[in-house]
């Protein structure tokens, strides 16, 4: 059997943990730059907030209803996520937890008896909540896709399910499939859901009953067949090995205000590049390709949201590098190439890819032999920045006052990662 453990309104639950006055009150978390709502509690759903609503449209309602509003604090959520995952690994064993996202993990429960699954799920849920203060919902079923469905149903009626749903018989699986609308199925995107509805397929159960041929024809070939197999309890998706390294690393931010000057954009790009290079060095890699993009301002505040034009370009580096100064040099010349004067810009980003392990950088005949000196310098910069304060030491090209920085009006303290931001008790 497979389980999915999913944190309930994860970002909001993190914020609530250190702000108990918001217990049982509506709480929302805003996207980077306080753009729109990206997380909400059940109470906030009842007030009527939907996902991706722009903040400026609901700021009055938020004030009137005493809703807790927070800017996204990924330092904090990341640490809380690690705690949840570590707790899961402690209860069931390191090897059978597949961390799927910041607030979800799949568990491979092959070695557990079916009769024990309910009590195991209960133990998992209570231990995670006691240790970390985060409530989770758990769906258990023969395959990942069915586990996702089980979880969704558990979440829809938390009081009745106790946030746990085990689909351990064909009868229960059929009932679950009948109750789940097609557009809520994991792996069925909005476009496919529309198409399937036109073909008369409205629920998971309808999809369960289609032929393999139909899936191959209408659901993107092999992927569709795999999905149908999953619904029938046959494993199409296996447990993934934990990712050792990622294939690309990026840093993208929206500016706090629109930016028009090349110099300011270059500062931002330099800052994002050094952040990206830090992430790169943390996983002991070097990059061979660097890509820079800037996004122009959308003309009006429209809803649904329409992004502005994107300008992007990339180059292959002469040899893989993890050195901030080399990466900044490339990213700044790329920025100059794509910058068009006279336009307003709202966002920029740096993506590096073609990652190779730092220790085995292939020798290149045409390059000066050793970069070790630079690497030591970077290690020192990183040690200071991680150990003391972010950006204590930085490259001058990334600017000193950073007027373009993200807007984060409602940012909570980084309670769990900074000595000077600990939660205060009386």
């Amino acid at each position: 059997m497979r389980a999915i453990v999913d944190c309930n309104s994860f970002y909001c639950s993190c914020e609530r943990l250190f702000r108990p006055e918001f217990e049982n009150k509506p709480v929302v978390v805003l996207s980077n730059n306080d753009g729109c709502i990206i997380a909400r509690t059940d109470e906030a759903k009842e007030v009527g907030f939907s996902m991706a609503t722009p903040y400026y449209m609901v700021s009055d309602i938020i004030k009137k209803n005493g809703v807790g509003v927070f800017s996204s604090n990924y330092n904090f959520y990341g640490d809380m996520s690690r705690r949840v995952m570590e707790t899961l690994k402690h209860v069931v064993g390191e090897d059978i937890v597949e961390v799927y996202s910041i607030d979800e993990a799949f568990l491979d429960l092959t070695s557990f008896k079916n009769s024990d699954l309910n009590s195991l799920a209960f133990q998992l849920r209570t231990t995670v909540e006691k240790w970390t203060g985060i409530q989770v919902s758990i769906g258990i079923a023969p395959t990942k896709t069915l586990a996702k469905i089980a979880n969704k149903i558990a979440k829809n009626n938390k009081e009745k399910s106790g946030c746990i749903n085990v689909l351990d018989s064909p009868r229960k699986i059929a009932a679950a499939l009948k109750s789940i609308p097609i557009d809520e199925l994991w792996g069925v995107g909005a476009r496919y859901a529309e198409k399937l509805k036109e073909l008369g397929i409205d629920t998971g159960w309808d999809l369960y009953n289609v032929s393999e041929e139909f899936a191959r024809k209408h659901l993107g070939g092999v992927v569709g067949v795999r999905l149908i197999k999953e619904l029938h309890g046959e494993e199409g998706l296996i447990m993934e090995k934990p990712l050792i390294t990622t294939k690309m690393i990026s840093t993208t931010r929206r500016f706090g205000r629109t930016v028009t000057e090349l110099e300011e954009i270059k500062e931002a790009v330099a800052a994002y590049t050094s952040r990206t290079a830090e992430k790169l060095r943390r996983q002991h890699c070097a990059a061979s390709i660097i890509n820079v993009f800037i996004i122009a301002n959308e003309e009006k505040k429209t809803y649904p949201y329409k992004p502005g034009d994107t300008f992007s370009t990339q180059i292959v580096l002469p040899s893989p590098t993890a050195l901030t100064n080399e990466l900044i040099k490339s990213s700044l010349s790329l920025t100059e190439k794509i910058f068009i004067p006279g336009r307003k810009y709202s966002k920029a980003g740096v993506i590096i890819s073609g990652l190779v392990p730092d220790t085995s950088i292939q020798a290149n005949l045409f390059n000066a032999p050793s970069k070790n000196a630079g690497r030591y310098l970077m290690d020192m910069v990183d040690n200071i920045n991680f150990g003391i304060r972010k950006d204590m030491v930085k490259f001058a090209s990334s600017g000193v006052d950073r007027s373009w920085k993200m807007r984060q009006e409602f940012l909570s303290p980084r309670y769990t990662t900074r000595w000077d931001e600990l939660c205060k008790v009386h």
């Binding site: 705690r83 949840v84 402690h90 240790w131």
Partner: protein, 142 residues
Amino acid sequence: MEQEQLYSSSYKGSKDYTQWDVPVANATGFGAPADDYAEKGIDLNEQLVKNKPATFFMRINSDAMVGAGIFKGDVAIVDRSITATNGKIIIAVVDGEMLIRRLEIINGKKKLVPATDKLSGISIDDMDLKIWGVVTYVIHSV
């Protein structure tokens, strides 16, 4: 101690180092005779953080517990996985506020008791009391 570690299901702390992390002298001449006896050294985390995912640090911002040697500005180490029993110093949530107090349970009645004359105890029904975690250590700068 070894035996206990082997059979207990409790969290094993933050000892995530391997033998390669134990420093050796790297002497170039005669192998340093102390290398065979090398240890990792004392790690505060090992002593103070028994259960890493469940342990949080908090800053004391009141004189409520001065009698127990806990002063304003100190750092409290709070373990959420420990069960709060009579006499334990805990972080409690009362009216949405985080308080550090000693938990007193007499005949099933729970009370939050400060360690100072300037504040009075708070008696609470089970319903109103939410225990956030149990304080295990306090770091005090002298």
